[in-house]
């Protein structure tokens, strides 16, 4: 059963976060191990497996990027395991330049500006995904998702850099 089906949601790139929560909560109410404390071991085990699967589904579908990656995998677009390789030379160039800029940024404001730009780029790239799915343009999807994953990682790196700068200041 795929993650969408498990939560009773239509398989789609966009979904309403409130609907997802509602579906998840109602199923966890049914399957969470806390509901099975007094039940026989086999029922407990079954509930635990189901609750774990629900958590995995929810976790995957909640974040727009991980949902897009998962939705793409259902459509046959596979990405390399966790962004270890960037095989797109254009993206590689972009990544190197921005990383260098981050490395050189020596004020919190400068880091914030870079992170803000990355967030804007992510937003734009996310909203561009729908049309790629519509056209079923697999190479373009793969490229866009790899870039999104890189941007996501970059935002996290910027957060680390920001924290170190704040520390150094204090």
């Amino acid at each position: 059963m795929d993650h969408f089906a498990r939560l009773g949601m239509p398989a789609a790139l966009d979904l309403e976060p409130a609907d997802l929560d509602k579906a998840y909560f109602s199923r966890q109410r049914q399957w969470h191990p806390d509901r099975f404390v007094a039940k026989p071991p086999e029922e407990k085990a079954k509930a635990s497996v189901e609750a774990a699967a629900l958590n995995d589904a929810y976790r995957t579908l909640k974040d727009p990027l991980s949902r897009a990656v998962y939705f793409a995998s259902l459509k046959g677009v596979e990405l390399p395991v966790d962004g270890k390789t960037i095989d797109d030379p254009e993206l590689l160039m972009e990544a190197m330049e921005v990383r260098e800029a981050l490395h050189e940024a020596d004020t919190v404001e400068a880091v914030d500006a870079l992170a803000e730009k990355a967030r804007r780029d992510m937003k734009a790239a996310l909203s561009g995904l729908a049309s790629l799915f519509l056209r079923d343009d697999k190479p373009a999807l793969r490229k866009a998702l790899l870039r999104l994953r890189y941007l996501d990682k970059f935002v996290e790196e910027a957060r680390a850099r920001r924290m170190n700068l704040e520390r150094a200041k204090a």
Binding site: F25, P33, D34, V37, S48, N55, K84, E157, M163, N164
Partner: protein, 631 residues
């Protein structure tokens, strides 16, 4: 008997319905413990004859025999120090390597030879005793208090643990309950329990935070409350930050003042203890007053010390700031802004300090919730959860993993399998492969922590998957599955997918890291993220380089004859360059050397492939060929 205090007028004092289903909530604290019971959604702490809810977490094995717990044990501390244990919670699930961290804090004799591969044991009153059995004594006392207050047998409990308790400490807590004759219905994280105590009463919805500042630890958690569902979004903390630090700052100031006034103190353990006790008193007074003073007498030399609240606040400002800094990181982890928080629940005696309340209020822009006693709130929440689990309830508690869980991969890198803040129970798997041709076993090393390198994380368990059939490097598909149950306990299993060879382990944590280290690990992770990234890239380049060297050597051994002496010379030179680069620290040099070798060996690889195809085709009929292609 204090039954009247815990019942609404007109309620049946002893409900006979649900006979034998009575379950209590227990806050097993470092300094104090509390037991509470909830009935029909109304929790109450159980008091002793004198009306006290707090049971000091102190156990004494007096020379006269027997066991004393709580206030009675504490009174024996001065008289029989070697027979009394306090703060045993700090040792739950700890090994020998942790002891330096608590040495000086806990003046105990350690049982020689313990703690190497097992939990450390203390030598108390001439006998070895484990933290599990000492904690069990506290639990037995709490159970007895509950049974006498409720006039009923109590066999089940929800026990709270700090969000940062690792696998070893959680297991030890469960074991202690078993020794005390209590079935643990669920281990619940302390901040979660506190939120339960508030949320249920008020039917609140939205984003809530729990700010828990105890004597020696700090925790900050974010929860979302919605229609009876408690969803923990993120949690974080520091196990070496608490109200004791406030006392220490004040005590140091007083000792410095004495020195300034020309008193030559022998600053020994006794002097420090006296100064700390006075500091604590003055700190508590400053919660209600603008200024206070105290008299410190050491070696019969008295001194007088006055302090204003403003002075005190200036002293502890940096400590309090550290807590709000941690809170901000937890918010960032959850992708939330402080302004989105509907309310902050305060837990722990140290949250009575006005500066703490003010800073928390500043951070979220509204006053924190303080209407439940911060010392009892955790036990009250645990009691509510105990009732929910036994009598059924509409409330649901969705908790998360506080630290990431992963595996060691080539070069000492960590591959995270379960990221922190993943909702539990959870089962997640990842595939790995073999590194060498013909490799038949794979070492599985399970670690906990946020850093990129294994050396910076906590080692939880090691086991070996054996019986992998010999295959070319990278052909085996080894699926490693991490399952974390609703109590936060981990089981890891590994399976080779092409053959089904399987191995499974209940993680028995190796002891060797303190809770302090655990907290550091989390907060280190961000501070070190930059250097970790560099280290990771370098290690990956090295691993990649070694992989190609290995493949090249295999190929040369088999088909070296396909190369001219000249080609072979060039290849050896390029090979040597890569080998040298790999030993160095320059990632660019490694990559350049690897590329050069790759370019040089391309024609060789093509020749090998041609030869391979020729060999494969020779002597085959057309039918054989078709069959082979179809395979």
């Amino acid at each position: 008997m204090t039954l009247l205090e815990i019942h609404e007028p007109g309620e049946t004092p002893l409900p006979h319905a649900g006979e034998g289903t009575l379950a209590v909530g227990i806050d097993l604290g470092t300094t104090n413990s509390v037991v509470a019971i909830a009935r029909e959604g109304k929790p109450a702490a159980l008091h002793d004859e004198t009306g006290r809810a707090l049971v000091p977490s102190v156990v004494a094995y007096p020379a006269a025999g027997g066991v004393r717990v709580g206030e009675e044990a504490r009174l024996l501390m001065a008289k029989e120090p070697r027979n009394v244990v306090a703060s045993v919670k700090r040792l739950m699930g700890r090994g020998a390597a942790d002891l330096h961290a608590v040495a000086g804090v806990l003046p105990y004799e350690i049982e020689p030879g313990s703690g190497e591969t097992d939990m450390v044991k203390l030598r108390i009153a001439g006998k070895p005793r484990s933290p599990v059995e000492i904690s069990a004594e506290i639990l037995k006392a709490l159970r007895a208090r509950a049974e006498s207050a409720l006039d009923k047998s109590v066999e089940r409990a929800v026990i709270t643990v700090p969000a940062y308790f690792d696998d070893a400490a959680r297991t030890a807590t469960r074991d202690a309950a078993r020794v005390a004759g209590l079935e643990v219905l669920r281990l619940v994280n302390e901040p979660t329990a506190a939120a339960l105590a508030y949320g249920l009463d008020k039917g609140s919805e939205g984003l809530y935070a729990v700010y828990d500042l105890g004597g020696g630890t700090f925790d900050f958690s974010l929860l979302r409350l919605e229609k009876g569902v408690f969803q923990v979004l993120a949690t974080g903390g520091d196990t070496a930050l608490g109200g004791d630090d406030f006392d220490r700052a004040l005590a140091e100031r007083m000792l410095a003042e004495r020195k300034r006034d020309g008193i030559a103190d022998q600053v020994d353990e006794g002097a420090v203890k006296a100064a700390l006790a006075l500091a604590r008193q003055m700190k508590e007074q400053l919660s209600d007053r603008e200024k206070t003073s105290g008299r410190l007498e050491l070696a019969a030399v008295p001194s007088f010390h006055a302090i204003t609240r403003a002075e005190f606040e200036a002293m502890i400002d940096a400590l309090v700031k550290r807590t709000t800094e941690i809170a901000r990181h937890v918010l960032a982890d959850a992708g939330m802004a402080a302004s989105e928080i509907h309310g902050v629940v305060l837990v722990g005696g140290s949250t009575r300090v006005p500066l703490v309340r003010r800073k928390v209020a500043d951070m979220i822009g509204k006053p924190p919730l303080t209407d439940i006693d911060p010392d009892e709130v955790v036990a009250l929440g645990a009691a509510l959860q105990a009732e929910a689990l036994t009598s059924g309830s509409d409330t649901l508690l969705l908790d998360v993993t506080p630290l990431s869980l992963g595996l060691e991969t080539m070069g000492g890198l960590v591959e995270k399998v379960v990221p922190r803040n993943t909702p539990i129970p959870v089962q997640l798997a990842q595939e790995f492969t073999t590194y060498q041709d013909g490799q038949t076993a794979m070492a599985i090393h399970v670690v906990q922590g946020e850093r990129e390198m294994v050396a910076d994380c906590r080692s939880l368990a090691r086991f070996e998957l054996t019986g992998i059939p010999p295959m070319t490097a990278g052909a085996a598909r080894i699926r490693v599955t991490f399952a974390v149950d609703a109590d936060g306990l981990l089981t890891v299993s590994a399976q080779e997918r092409t053959t089904g060879v399987a191995q499974r382990i209940e993680v028995k944590p190796s002891y060797g890291l303190s809770h302090d280290d655990m907290a550091d690990m989390l907060y280190d992770s961000l501070e070190h993220a930059e250097e970790d990234m560099t280290q990771r890239l370098l290690t990956e380049a090295r691993v990649e380089a070694q992989r190609s060297l290995l493949a090249l050597d295999t190929a040369l051994a088999k088909d070296g004859a396909l190369l001219s002496a000249e080609e072979r010379g060039a290849m050896d030179e390029a090979r040597h360059r890569l080998e040298t680069a790999t030993a160095g620290e320059d990632r660019d040099e490694i990559n350049a050397a690897a590329e050069a070798l790759e370019a040089l060996s391309k024609p060789f690889a093509e020749r090998r492939m041609d030869r391979g195809i020729r060999e494969a085709l020779s002597g085959l009929s057309m039918n054989d060929l078709e069959r082979r292609v179809g395979e």
